[in-house]
């Protein structure tokens, strides 16, 4: 790992009443790493992602991005520092077309929204088209998002996050709600699209085959704590992970 991690969460604590959503979280992610966050429902994965993006503020601890403290920043400010995310339920603009969704993303990532500059200017359309092509969405360009199937919406959600070439991309369950046959093709499209980008990726995932296939490193959560942080092979073989996350190791209960 390089001397300065791109993302460093130190001593993160978060409670919702009596529920511990994050406890003593210490995670450093190096530039360019592809990290999968795993854990059962309620383990604290999405809470962690929400704290990185500024939607939730930790009760204690700090989060730095390339050495800059982003703990108390607004999601908009964090986004402008190069942190982008997709959502478990795609957050799109259903009445607008696929291209217009991309143009909104491009416009928001720009330095300043313009009163005068056309949203459909040639340069923005060309960039949007290039990104849509990488996500195999070119054919859907003029369709309204409301008409699109779930898998296509997922891809568009990720494609929008990629506008402006973020430094850190957070994918919240990119294959959830997609059939088993479509998961790998979808991850292939996403990872191929990311292939040429020098960006760091954290993705929340429940499918361990996807995790093993696409992550360089796995961080496992349980009850708000990190119970494993290693390569996929090591982490997925960890007894705690097998017992608390994947369910492949059952605790013996004496009769």
């Amino acid at each position: 790992m390089s001397a300065t991690p791109l993302l460093h969460a130190a001593g993160i604590e978060k409670r919702f009443g009596a529920l511990v959503a994050a406890s003593a979280i210490d995670i450093a992610v190096a530039p360019g790493e592809r990290v999968s966050l795993i854990g059962s429902n309620g383990a604290g994965k999405t809470t962690f992602v929400n704290m990185i993006t500024g939607y939730l503020k930790p009760d204690a601890g700090s989060i730095t991005l390339a050495g800059r403290d982003i703990t108390s920043l607004h999601p908009r400010a964090i986004a402008r520092l190069g942190v982008a995310r997709s959502f478990q339920i795609p957050q799109l603009y259903p009445a607008l077309t696929v291209l217009e969704n991309m143009l909104v993303a491009t416009a928001c990532r720009g330095a300043q929204l313009s009163f005068w500059q056309p949203a459909r200017r040639a340069e923005a359309v060309r960039d949007a088209d290039a990104l849509l092509a990488r996500f195999a969405l070119a054919e859907q360009r003029e369709r309204r998002v409301a008409e699109l199937p779930g898998g296509v919406r997922k891809l568009l959600d990720v494609a929008m996050a990629l506008t402006g070439q973020p430094r850190l991309l957070l994918l919240d369950e990119p294959t959830s709600g997609v059939s088993a046959e479509e998961k790998f093709p979808m991850m292939d499209i996403i990872m191929t699209a990311l292939g040429s980008e020098p960006m760091t990726v954290l993705f929340v995932e429940h499918d361990m085959d996807i995790v093993a296939g696409y992550a360089d490193r796995v961080i496992a959560f349980a009850s708000g704590r990190v119970i494993a942080d290693a390569t996929p092979a090591v982490a997925l073989a960890n007894d705690d992970v097998r017992r608390l996350v994947t369910g492949t190791l059952r605790t013996e209960v004496p009769c």
Binding site: A84, C108, S114, F115, W116, E139, R141, E142
Partner: protein, 325 residues
């Protein structure tokens, strides 16, 4: 593979706008005086409704746009009366600027609210202004005050020409602001306004400021409304607190709903329709003209839920949107 992007529409709008304005200016020479006055009122008041349409594109509706209408009108009338500023274009600018400046302190507050809360807050502000104007004797109290005849580029206007010149000034200013609104709707900020209406959360996560978009839309709507108020008082020659009354604001909302939010031209068509319906209904059904107006609105909502503009806005996906609120 993706199809080519549509050709830029800006030049088409510019040519169309200039052509329509020229046609209206020529037509005004031949129209009867009552009709030029009616169109003058429709264009001036249409600017206020244009502001509401601008807000509607961001997902909110102002029920108190009479406030900026009144501020623009009072500012122009006071500049004329107290400071002897008589130029029509200058007074329109004063009305627009004053309305924008006076409501600017409320923009950060209003940008936090949506739906009925935004509507009621704007209504409350306009009714506070109405109350203040009624009680302010120096502004004529409930009777208001008269305003004299304006000049245009230093030329005084004779009885024979004043109606047409004010018509022409109003048409030109309305056309300039309408084209500016069209370009704004098609700009990056205009597109993000539609996105705010759809999903505020994602706009913030993409790095856009929802509250800034909403605040700026509110100020732009105030600018258009203030100009509309100034142009109206120049033609009417009289100002009173009813400019800020809630029924006046209701008429502006009526026009905005009639027009829909997709077309700028539709706003002025709808405003003209309102003036025509009001004018003829007042003549033939003097006590029930609001009934005619209500029935007409019901008809439009039933058969043109996206407003009059949906009659000619092209149906390509790039220009399609959700149903009007």
């Amino acid at each position: 593979m993706a199809v080519a992007p549509p050709a830029p529409r800006r030049s088409a709008f510019l040519v169309g706008g200039i052509g329509l304005t020229a046609a209206l200016l020529v037509a005004g020479v031949f129209l009867p005086k009552w009709l030029t006055f009616l169109v003058t009122m429709a264009a001036a008041r249409g600017l206020v409704s244009l502001g509401i349409v601008l807000l509607m594109r961001g997902g909110v509706v102002s029920f108190g746009q009479g406030l900026v209408f009144a501020i623009g009108a009072y500012a122009a009338a006071l500049a004329f009366k107290r400071f002897a500023i008589t130029d029509a274009v200058g007074l329109a600018c004063i009305g627009a600027a004053t309305a924008t400046l006076l409501v600017a302190p409320f923009a950060p507050l209003l940008s936090r609210y949506r739906g009925i809360f935004f509507a009621m807050l704007t209504l409350a502000l306009s009714m506070v202004a109405f109350g203040v104007l009624v009680k302010t004797e120096s502004l004529g109290g409930s009777d208001g005050f008269n305003m004299g005849r304006v000049t245009v580029f230093g030329q005084s206007l004779g009885d024979a020409h004043v109606g047409y010149v004010l018509y022409a000034v109003t048409i030109v200013i309305a056309a300039v602001l309408a084209l500016a609104a069209r370009f704004y709707f098609d700009s990056t900020r205009g597109l993000v306004s539609l996105a705010v209406r759809e999903n505020e959360l994602r706009v913030e996560y993409l790095g856009g400021s929802v509250r800034r978009v909403m605040a700026i839309n509110f100020l732009l709507a105030a600018f258009a409304g203030g100009a509309g108020g100034a142009l109206t008082v120049m033609s009417l020659g009289h100002i009173d607190p009813n400019f800020s009354y809630w029924t006046t604001s209701g008429e502006f909302v009526f026009v905005a709903i009639l027009a829909g939010w997709q077309s700028v031209l539709a706003v002025f068509v709808a405003s003209t329709v309102l003036e025509v319906v009001r004018s003829f209904s007042s003549s033939y059904f003097p006590n029930t003209w609001q009934l005619s107006l209500g029935l007409f609105l019901l008809f439009v909502i039933r058969f043109l839920p996206r407003g009059i503009g949906s009659l000619w806005v092209e149906r390509s996906p790039s220009r399609r949107g959700v149903a009007s609120p």
